[in-house]
Amino acid sequence: MNSTSTHFVPPRRVGIYEPLHQMGMWGDSFKSNITNGNMNTPSHIIIPNNQKLDNNLSEDTSHGTAGTPHMFDQEASTSRNPDKIQRRLEQNSEAARKSGLSKKAYVQQLETSRLKLIQLEQELDRARQQGFYVGNGIDTNPLGFSETMNPGIAAFEMEYGHWVEEQNRQICELRAVLHGHVNDIELRMLVENAMKHYFELFKMKSTAAKADVFFVMSGMWKTSAERFFIWIGGFRPSDLLKVLLPHFDVLTDQQILDVCSLRQSCQQAEDALTQGMEKLQHTLADCVAAGQLGEGSYIPQVNSAMERLEALVSFVNQADHLRHETLQQMYRILTMRQAARGLLALGEYFQRLRALSSSWATRHREPT
């Protein structure tokens, strides 16, 4: 068996089998020797091997490579049995036919998979444009995000898609209105709608947090660049102020005082919540690590750990409350026109982050 298979070794193993390669050459000379009737020295080495080859080759035709072995074979058989040749030829062509068929089926499979892949890529692009989270999380299916997640989250993602569309529409409206003339009533309506729109999002998040707090906490529904800035399930209230403040032209002295006061209190509240979160992380880590590690056992106080996780929902709600209050206070301090400009700036800032995420994603896919 071994001597047979050595005829079929891949090129890189030829080195070991150099002598056999030379057997092929001897095969040629063997043939010529037969025709010439000249059995020279090499042939007495070949003949015993020939017998082995003869029998084994008939079983190995499916590996068939037309070449030396078969020629060898034919030469050996020709000298003995024409029927054997015929049988072997038939076996060879049958094997070729079989492998041809599976090759065709394989190619067909490849084509189908390729079409499916194109389809999925198109879906991905559409989803990304709409700002859906399509990522590589270990516990999320990047392509079947709606089907595999829980219904509360699936509902939230759909609602969020609509929220972003409405947000984009409101931003356009604000921009148009601020560049033209607008009466106070219309301006107030636009500003109040924009505020309400943010408050709507906080309500949606509160519901979603009950369905899957980790999903909300990590900002999984946001685009990647937005997620980079995440703080307890959303944007940092102090960031909001940092983005908005340069855009206000003239602030009265009172406004300047109020804004400074708001910045400070916002930062203090944020820091307090951050420290509370850190404490939560420490206590949860202690809880998980309690008892013997290394014994392959589960958390001894799993109920305690679960209680800690419940607290996460409160934190997400509290962070959103802080965002709500920050927006509310800005609205109180600014004039209607300033508030409109501020909301426009804020909206565009998030739009830019989303656009950045798309650019980054496409950049990654370009071949280098």
Partner: protein, 99 residues
């Protein structure tokens, strides 16, 4: 409940919390940041924990902890404290009790 009112007046700023409650801890940190040293009552370490909880809920708290009293009067929970702070009405309230 008398005990609650008595405990609530022990110091200028009193926070009823539980040892496991990290939101209570956040509130405590906020007051400390403002220069106040609040008195913390961890009600889960108190034998009358259940009664205290009920009393706090009866006073109007949606959840028993954290419950913040300033000058013996109930201010509210985390929401109320945060709202007051952002609207600049918390600092004047704790001014008499700064360290």
């Amino acid at each position: 409940m008398d005990k609650v009112m008595r405990l609530a007046s022990e110091k200028g700023v009193v926070i009823f919390s539980k040892s496991s409650c990290c939101l209570s801890y956040a509130v405590q940190v906020l007051f400390q940041d403002l220069g106040v040293n609040p008195k913390i009552h961890e009600i889960d370490k108190d034998p009358e924990c259940r009664e205290i909880e009920k009393a706090l809920m009866r006073l109007g708290c949606s959840k028993p902890v954290p419950a913040v009293f300033i000058g013996g009067k109930l201010v509210g929970s985390t929401n109320e404290v945060m709202s007051m702070h952002l609207s600049s009405s918390l600092v004047p309230l704790v001014k008499p009790y700064l360290c």
